[in-house]
C-alpha cells in the first residue's frame, strides 16, 4: 500500500509542477463553460429579416412591428420586388424574407384570412427551422390578438414556409463546408508545425541550418508536399460528398478550388508560425490542436451561427481565418455566388496569409538560440 501511495504522491508532484498539464485540467474546462455559456447559443437573436410588403397597410405594419420588436429579429431591408430576394440572400445578412400579399389587411377583414410567405435561408438548416418557427409563433400570437375582437369569426393568417437554397434542409449542406474548413486548417497547421519541430527535436535541423539552404527554401520545401496533398484532399471530399450525399457545387468549381488553395496556403503558414514558437513536437501539437481546434469548431460559425453570439465572441471570431473561409465556401457551394460576393472575405484571407508568411520567415531562426 505504501508503495502505491508513494507513487501517487509522485504523480501529484509532476502535475503541479507542469503548467501545461494544469492548463489542460483547469483551464480548458473553464474556457469551455464560458464559451458554451455565452458564445454558443441555439436561441435566435438578431436574425436578419427583410420584408417584401406588397400591401403596406395598417395590419401589415402592426405585424411587422410585432415581429421586429420581439427581440429575435433585426430588420435588414425593405424589398420592393421578388427579383430582389435572391440577391439579398446572397449578401448573407438576411436569414428570412417575409412577404405580405396584396391587400393583406382588407382580405383579412373581408375573407377572414390572408396569406404571407416566409422564405428562409436553407443553407443553415437548423437556424432556418428555428427562425421560421419563431416567426410562426409570433404570427399565431398576432392571430389571437386580432381574433379576440371577433370571437365568432376568427381570422387566420397562414404563413407559407419555403426554403431558399437547400429546400430539403439537408444538414450535409451545413456540415460539409464546415468540415472542409476545419479539416484543412487542422491538418495543414498541425502537419507543418510538427514536421518542422520534429527536425528540431531529432537534431537534424542543426545540420540543415549549417548547410547552404536558406530559411525560405526550408520553409517552402516543407510546405509544398502538404500543399499538393491537401489540394487533392479537397477534391476528394467534394467528390465524396457528391457521390454519397448528392451534394453538388452550385457555383463555380474553379472559384471554389482557387479559394481553397488560398485557404490551404494560409493554414500552412499558420503551422509554420506555430513551429517558430515551439521547441518540441509536443508543444506544436498542443498549440495546433488546443489553440486552433476548439475555437475553430465553436467560434467560427461552423456549428453555431456567429450572429447568435455575444459581441465579445463575435470579435474573437473576426481573428479566426476559418470564419472567413466558411462564409466563402458556403456562398459558393450552396448559394452559388460569384467572386463579387466574396471578395471581402478573400481579401482578408490574402492579407492574413501574407502576414503569417512574413512573420514566419522573420521569426525563423537561422541559429540555435
Amino acid at each position: 500500500m505504501k508503495r502505491f501511495l508513494g507513487f501517487v504522491k509522485k504523480e501529484f508532484l509532476h502535475i503541479f509542477r507542469d503548467y501545461r498539464t494544469l492548463f489542460i485540467i483547469f483551464g480548458i474546462p473553464v474556457a469551455q463553460i464560458l464559451i458554451f455559456g455565452f458564445a454558443i447559443s441555439t436561441d435566435v437573436k438578431n436574425a436578419g429579416v427583410a420584408f417584401l410588403d406588397l400591401s403596406k397597410d395598417e395590419t401589415t405594419q402592426k405585424l411587422t412591428d410585432k415581429i421586429i420588436s420581439s427581440g429575435f429579429f433585426k430588420r435588414t431591408e425593405n424589398l420592393t420586388s421578388y427579383s430582389e430576394i435572391e440577391d439579398i440572400f446572397r449578401k448573407g445578412k438576411t436569414k428570412e424574407v417575409i412577404i405580405f400579399e396584396k391587400n393583406f389587411g382588407k382580405k383579412l377583414q373581408n375573407e377572414g384570412k390572408a396569406s404571407m410567405s416566409l422564405i428562409a435561408d436553407g443553407s443553415e438548416p437548423n437556424t432556418a427551422t428555428l427562425i421560421t418557427n419563431y416567426t410562426m409563433a409570433i404570427v399565431s400570437d398576432f392571430n389571437t390578438d386580432i381574433s379576440g375582437f371577433k370571437a365568432n369569426n376568427p381570422m387566420l393568417i397562414q404563413p407559407e414556409v419555403k426554403m431558399f437554397y437547400n429546400p430539403e434542409l439537408k444538414s450535409q449542406h451545413m456540415f460539409v463546408p464546415g468540415v472542409i474548413t476545419m479539416i484543412l486548417i487542422l491538418i495543414c497547421a498541425l502537419m507543418t508545425s510538427v514536421t518542422i519541430t520534429r527536425e528540431k527535436e531529432l537534431g537534424t535541423m542543426e545540420v540543415l541550418l549549417v548547410s547552404p539552404l536558406r530559411p525560405i527554401q526550408i520553409i517552402l520545401g516543407k510546405v509544398v508536399p502538404y500543399f499538393l496533398l491537401s489540394f487533392i484532399n479537397v477534391i476528394l471530399i467534394l467528390v465524396l460528398s457528391w457521390l454519397v450525399f448528392g451534394l453538388s457545387v452550385k457555383g463555380s468549381i474553379i472559384l471554389l478550388l482557387a479559394e481553397s488553395m488560398l485557404y490551404i496556403m494560409l493554414s500552412l503558414s499558420v503551422g509554420i508560425l506555430i513551429s517558430t514558437v515551439s521547441n518540441s513536437m509536443q508543444q506544436a501539437i498542443f498549440i495546433s490542436l488546443v489553440g486552433m481546434m476548439l475555437p475553430t469548431i465553436l467560434l467560427s460559425g461552423f456549428i453555431y451561427p456567429i450572429e447568435n453570439m455575444d459581441k465579445a465572441y463575435d470579435l474573437i471570431s473576426y481573428m479566426l481565418p476559418p470564419r472567413y473561409f466558411i462564409t466563402i465556401i458556403k456562398s459558393i457551394m450552396i448559394k452559388g455566388t460569384g467572386f463579387l460576393y466574396v471578395w471581402k472575405e478573400t481579401l482578408v484571407l490574402i492579407s492574413m496569409t501574407i502576414l503569417f508568411i512574413v512573420m514566419s520567415v522573420r521569426k525563423f531562426k537561422i541559429r540555435l538560440e
Partner: protein
Amino acid sequence: MTDQLSQGCPGKQNSDPEKQMQKVIESTDISKAFGSTKALNDITFSVDESEIFGLIGPDGAGKTTLFRIIATLLRPDNGEMKVLGQDCITGFKELRRNIGYMPGRFSLYQDLTVEENLNFYATVFGTTVKENYDLISDIYSHIEPFKKRLTGKLSGGMKQKLALSCALIHKPKLLILDEPTTGVDAVSRYEFWAMLAKLRQHNITIIVSTPYMDEAMRCDRVALIQNGLILSVAPPQKIRDGFSRKLFMIKASEKYKLIIALRKYPGTVTAYPFGDSVHVTFSDDRIDESLFRFLSEEGLSNVTAGETEAGIEDRFLELMEKGATA
C-alpha cells in the same frame, strides 16, 4: 589557470617552412552564458590547416557550445571567432558552404535509407555523390553494401560512418565533429580514428571533441576543457609531459583496500585507480620502505610498485585538481 603553450610551431611536422600557415580557426576570448550558467569563459586557441585538433573534456565542459559557435549556429556573448578567415557572425553564409558539421547523436534521417541520406546532403550542398566519391570511399565502402537499408536500422558504428560520409560529401575545408565516438564500441572507435587520420591527406582540417582521454593521443594538438575553461592547449605529448611530479604505479591483490590504504598513507599526494593499478604521487617524489610496511600492516598482499610514465589522463586529473583549488 590557463596553461597555454605556443600554438603550431616547434614540434609540429611541416615539410615546407615557407608555406603560409593559415589559421583555420582563431578564437579570442570567447564567452557564452545561458541564463546564469556560464558555458564558456574566455576561450582562446587556434587551429592550423590540415590539423586534427582535439577538444577533450567531460560532459558539461562546454564542448558542444563551442562547436556550435564555430559552426555559426550560436553567437558568442563576447570575443571573436574567425573561421576560415571569416567572422563567424557576419560571414556565416559563406562559412556554411565550406564547413562539414556532424553534431552529437549523428542527426541523420532515420526513416531514409543510407543512399537517400547521402544523396540528400550532397544535393543540399550543391554537389553529387559521384563528384566527391573518392574522398569518402574508404569510409562509405564499409556501409555501401547496406545502402538500401533504413538508417534507423543501422548499428551505432555504421551510423557513425554514414554521418561522417554525409559531412564530407561536399568536400568541406573544415570538418567539425561533436563527440562522434560517444556510445560506440571500442572497435568502431578505433576504426573511426583510422579513417580520420587518412583524411589529412586531402588537406581537410578536423576539429573533434571527445570525452575519451585515450583518443587525445591521436590528435596533432589538443585543448583540455573543463567547466567552460581551457586548462591547456598543446600537442598531446607535451601535455602529458607536463605532469609535474613523478608518477608511481602500485598494484595489490585487493584493489579497493589498496586505494583506501594509500589515501591513508601520510606521504601520498594523489591516488587514483587506473585500470588494474593505482597511480600515486608522493610528496617527496619517491617510494621507500615505510610504504611497503604500511601497506602490509593494512593487510595487503602481493604489493608491487614502480615508477611509470604519466599519460594524458593523469595530466588531466592533475590540471582538474589544480583548477578545483584555484
